[in-house]
């Protein structure tokens, strides 16, 4: 595989590989309070007020058999620290209080989203515990519940299945994860979110990204969801023919989906190639003769990267492991700048908690380190290594090195399987890395702390009344209006899109310009500090309408919008207050005020000044105000 000319747009290539992709979109809801307690929702950047320390212990049968050794190994894994914030967390987040009854506002919001995606709403909601041992939730499980099933959205000429919509609590924010210590902030914990699960209906990377955007934007325009960085995350499931489902967790930007799914498909293809090669070379019952040697004495005191690492306060060990006839595997590329050796590194980082970079030193990669060739040669001579034998050096606490060696052998053994069923994380550099093995079917069991919640038909119908038109219908109309794809995409996300519709009823209206004002100008203004999202919609609409009909210059429209954004236009204005006498009085006062200023400019400046003043004073009569100004002033 050559990643230097990676083409993520070659749909035919991916379709020929049997690419399929499903999405899980996690979107936080815009409720005031959390899902199972009464803490306010929202992040904080204050320093924490307290910390608690916990361990996660697999409950029996989590590991399949009653294997005491496996349990013991698990025990040594991680200490988990939770940071607590007085204004964001209570004893529920600490797992020191059972859940309060589920937030009813969150249920209603989730029902509306499920209805939007054409789901059947369940008759009775059951709260379920879904186990997570990574510490991201202090209870060790996430409370989650199905709200709707069997939905769909239209896409191209087909339907994308929405298999399930869940309401669940958000996990903690990870602060750091170093060695055996992981630190979480609990402010985000228990924020209500909906999880939208699609069928594996996307056939190429471009579709995955498009559908993800469509689902995300559809929710955003409902006003039911939180917006901003981190309020939405997507997990992407990818597989190719002969491969298996691999889940890429927490994809940060929708924009990355196309690239990441393409790369994952190619990674799976690469692993399938390695599978064939491995099985050809080692047979169906591979017996690989690894050699191991403690090399700590050789490296202590040396000037290279390993020697420097050994100077740590903790006692560390250096172990050499031979990888016989595997050098071509180690350097087999699987992702951009990422080979099978990197795959082994990822495993060791997660399972053995050795996370200094690099955590494995391969002979094949020796040019990347400052370890002298003579050192490598000594080891290889001693082991009588052949040209395709690789050597890997591992440096870390002794117990972790043992785990690492074990894990490397396990991962090499898995070459015979091809693609391993696992979750991977978005490394934000265009590649993914190992996160954890998928634990078979999800570990789920009923939450005995919470009674079932009955959802009546009338509650469902009440919620249906709050539904606005789905995004895909609006988009169809915008396309029919002759708007470009780019404008349609921008409008899909715009919270002002509703203004466009009434304007479109006047067929003389320049709709493209209208759309530009709504998505371009208003966004620019918001970025410069003039936020019109909370401004009076009706007035905003009238200003834009006037501007379009009267062909206002850009500056003039901008001035009017800025004033509206400030919210300092006269709210007392009525029909009566817009009498000719009042208008004259206001004009005169404004003129005096203007003249008392130091400006030596004349008509033009006054015109701008008085226009602002008058629209501010008589915002409901902007059209007439402008006519009168034109009558009184003849400057251009």
């Amino acid at each position: 595989m050559d990643f230097s000319n990676l083409n993520i747009n070659d749909n035919a290539l991916y379709e020929s590989m049997g690419f399929i992709c499903g999405l899980e979109i996690h979107q936080q809801l815009a409720t005031q309070k959390k899902l199972f307690c009464h803490c306010p929702v929202g992040l904080t950047n204050r320093k924490y007020d307290a910390e608690i320390l916990r361990h996660m212990r697999p409950t029996l049968s989590e590991l399949g058999e009653y294997d005491g050794t496996a349990l013991m190994e698990f025990k040594t894994k991680k200490e988990v620290i939770y940071r607590l914030y007085r204004d964001r967390t209570c004893t529920y987040e600490m797992d020191d209080t059972p859940p309060f009854l589920v937030n009813q506002q969150a249920i209603d919001y989730a029902i509306r989203i499920a209805l939007l995606f054409n789901c059947r709403i369940v008759d009775e909601i059951h709260v379920i515990r879904k186990q997570y041992l990574d510490g991201s939730i202090p209870t060790g499980f996430q409370r989650t519940m199905i709200i709707g099933v069997d939905g769909w959205i239209p896409y191209k000429d087909r339907r994308i299945q929405i298999t399930q919509i869940n309401l669940e609590e958000e996990a903690c924010r990870e602060v750091s994860d170093i060695g055996h210590l992981i630190v979480f902030a609990t402010d985000r914990l228990s924020t209500p979110l909906v999880e939208i699960i699609t069928g594996s209906d996307m056939k190429n990377p471009a579709e995955a990204a498009e559908v993800c955007r469509l689902l995300g934007n559809s929710m955003k325009i409902t006003g039911l969801v939180r917006r901003g960085i981190g309020t939405v995350r997507q997990d992407v499931n990818v597989s190719v023919a002969g491969g298996t489902r691999v889940e890429i967790k927490g994809v940060f930007k929708v924009g990355n989906i196309k690239h990441l799914t393409a790369v994952e498909a190619l990674r799976q293809k690469g692993l399938l190639e390695l599978k064939n090669k491995f099985n050809d070379r080692f047979g169906s019952n591979p017996k690989i003769e690894y050699k191991e040697e403690n090399l700590t004495p050789q490296f202590s005191g040396s000037k290279d990267i390993i020697g420097r690492r050994l100077e740590s306060d903790r006692p560390l060990k250096v172990l050499g492991l031979s990888l016989p006839d595997l050098a071509d595997f180690v350097s087999h590329p699987l992702q951009p700048d990422w080979d099978f050796g990197s795959e082994l590194s990822g495993r060791v980082r997660v399972i053995a908690c050795i996370d200094s970079k690099p955590n494995l030193f391969f002979y094949s990669h020796r040019h990347r380190y400052d370890i002298p060739d003579t050192v490598w040669d000594n080891i290889r001579n001693k082991w009588q290594s052949r040209s395709n034998d690789d050597v890997v050096l591992i440096c870390g606490p002794s117990a972790d090195v043992t785990t690492a060696v074990n894990e490397i052998k396990i991962r090499i053994g898995e070459l015979a399987i091809g693609v391993v069923n696992e979750t991977r994380q978005d490394m934000k550099d265009g590649t993914t890395d190992f996160e954890r093995i998928l634990p078979g079917p999800d570990r789920m069991y009923p939450d005995t702390d919470h009674p079932p919640v009955k959802i009546t038909d009338s509650r469902v119908e009440n919620n249906r009344r709050y539904l606005s038109e789905p995004l895909w219908d609006r988009q169809k109309r915008w396309v029919a209006m002759g708007l470009s794809g780019e404008l349609v995409n921008a409008l899909s996300l715009s919270s002002y899109a509703d203004i466009l519709e009434p304007l479109a009823q006047d067929n003389k209206m320049p709709l493209k310009r209208a759309a530009y004002i709504l998505v371009g100008m208003l966004t620019d203004l918001r970025r410069s500090g003039y936020d019109l999202r909370k401004a009076d919609r009706e007035r905003l609409k009238r200003i834009i309408e006037s501007a379009l009909i009267e062909k206002w210059p850009h500056k003039r429209l901008k001035a009017a919008l800025i004033m509206l954004a400030h919210g300092d236009s006269n709210p007392q204005e009525t029909k009566e207050s817009f009498s000719p006498a009042a208008f004259d009085k206001f004009w005169e006062d404004a003129q005096n005020k203007f003249n008392s200023g130091t400006s030596n400019d004349k008509c033009g400046k006054f015109r701008r000044f008085i226009t602002g003043r008058l629209i501010e004073q008589f915002p409901h009569h902007s059209e007439e105000v402008l006519t009168r100004i034109a009558q009184r002033l003849d400057c251009k």
Binding site: L60, G68, D95, T97, V122, E124, R443
Partner: protein
């Protein structure tokens, strides 16, 4: 079709299951007026309504389906939940101490059946070894299941059985006793055991969990390891409660059985020593003593068991406007002892006086404790207190109300002679009355105060 095949179902839902041939643990396709649902029919909670059928879907989620929507049930498979845990032999060795674990109910350890979500308790040494393998590093474990009751249903009968079994195990040479117990009334049981089982040569350690053992964040395994270590290795031959010190997984505290109380409805660190400091801190591999005045472990197998209890004893929690009929109804119903939890230094209102006098005249033992929990009853300070003592109310020093209650029940089963009852009540047996309250015996840190916030910011709680 037997009863268990419709476990928990009632009303309309039960009828639908019966008429359409649905049963619990069956893999089914439910055909409804809103489409098909595929999954396993689960038992229904007894307290839930009679309208819905619970289905576990392939995704692992459960949903309830209104039974009147169901048109047809097609069974595609059947697999009952397995409620038995395969045993694995508990490794024993002569170097390790022999500890006996007595079970009273609740689950110390358990496993989940993920297909059904059923929580299956683990109790025998083999099962416990599977759940908490670290126990094998601590001791040789024997287990005896005495009863299976919730903590709130523990009472005199269970206390007596438990005490007698402890006596037998000590005489048989156990190096220590661990008692698995629900947490709600753990301090009542620890107090009565302190009186019923005296002069034990070995530690008697009560343990439970505040987060059930089926969850990864459970405190059960850590508590059990600390308790087993205490029972097998510590030299503290007293009845103790061994539960979380802070809410963090750091160490447990060993509380004297007569001075401990559950102080929070849900915190892990709910047990606190009241009016004194705990005996020691403990982790799964060492004990750090805090006090030095505890009874030391002995090598003999001698123990005094006096397992008796008079049930006609009550606690009266005084409140303003309490009327004398509360006391009178106890007198009329033949109660032999009353423990009052009075206000402040140990007070009740004047309208109760005639009823208290009547109680004394009937030979009912009346003792005063404080509902403040911390501090001594001091009835000489105010006239009210002196008036009440005139009426025969006896101040019970700094005995906790629940401790005074079980001690009075235990004494009245041995004697009804008022002078003897009084003498026995006020003679401390197991630290239930202390002569001195140390300055750090009452420390409820008040949140919000700068120095407390600083402390909390620095230490894991």
């Amino acid at each position: 079709m037997n009863d268990t095949s419709l476990k928990g179902y009632k009303g309309r839902a039960k009828e639908v299951l019966q008429s359409l041939g649905g049963r619990v643990w069956a893999n089914v396709v439910l055909q409804t007026d809103r489409g098909d649902f595929e999954g396993v029919i689960l038992p229904r909670s007894e307290t839930a309504d009679g309208d819905h059928i619970v289905l576990k879907l392939k995704s692992g989620y459960n949903i309830g389906i209104r039974s009147d929507r169901i048109q047809k049930i097609v069974e595609t498979g059947y697999k009952e939940a397995i409620y038995k845990i395969p045993e694995k032999e508990f490794p024993r060795s002569p170097e390790k101490p022999n500890v006996t674990l007595l079970g009273t109910g609740g689950t110390i350890a358990s496993r989940l059946d993920y297909r059904t979500g059923a929580v299956i308790p683990a109790f025998t040494p083999g099962e416990l070894y599977g759940a908490v393998p670290e126990l094998a590093d601590i001791c040789n474990l024997e287990t005896i299941k005495l009863f299976g009751v919730f903590s709130e249903n523990m009472g005199p009968m269970q206390w007596i059985t438990l005490s007698e079994e402890i006596g037998r195990q000590i005489e048989k040479g156990a190096s220590g006793i661990v008692i698995g117990h629900g947490t709600d009334t753990m301090h009542h049981t620890s107090a009565i055991l302190s009186f019923m089982v005296q002069n034990s040569p070995v530690p008697i350690v009560m343990v439970g969990s505040q987060r059930s053992s089926d969850r990864p964040s459970s405190d059960a395994a850590f508590n059990l390891r600390c308790a087993s270590y205490t029972a097998g290795h510590s030299d503290i031959a007293e009845t103790m409660v061994c539960m979380f010190g802070p809410t963090s997984d750091e160490y447990n505290l060993l509380h004297r059985g007569t001075r401990v109380r559950k102080m929070h409805s849900s915190y892990r660190s709910t047990f606190r020593t009241i009016g004194d400091v705990p005996i020691a801190m403990v982790t799964p591999d060492h004990v750090i003593p805090i006090k030095t005045d505890y009874k030391r472990r002995r090598n003999d197998c001698n123990v005094d068991v006096k397992a008796v209890f008079e049930e006609m004893v009550a606690i009266v929690y005084y409140y303003p406007n309490m009327r004398p009929d509360i006391i009178e109804s106890l007198i009329d119903n033949g109660y032999k002892g009353i423990v009052i939890a009075g206000t402040g230094l140990g007070h009740v209102n004047k309208p109760l006086y005639p009823a208290l006098k009547k109680a004394r005249d009937k030979g009912i033992a009346v003792f005063m404790t404080v509902q403040t929990l911390w501090g001594y009853v001091q009835m000489y300070v105010y006239d009210t207190g002196r008036d009440m003592m005139e009426l025969g109310v006896i101040p019970a020093e700094n005995m906790l109300p629940e401790v005074a209650y079980v001690k009075l029940g235990w004494i009245l089963a041995q004697t009804t002679d008022p002078a003897k009852v009084r003498e026995m009540m006020l003679a401390p047996i197991a630290g239930e009355i202390t002569e001195r309250e140390p300055f750090d015996g009452y420390l409820i840190l008040q949140g919000g105060i700068p120095e407390v916030e600083k402390f909390i910011g620095q230490y894991h709680r």
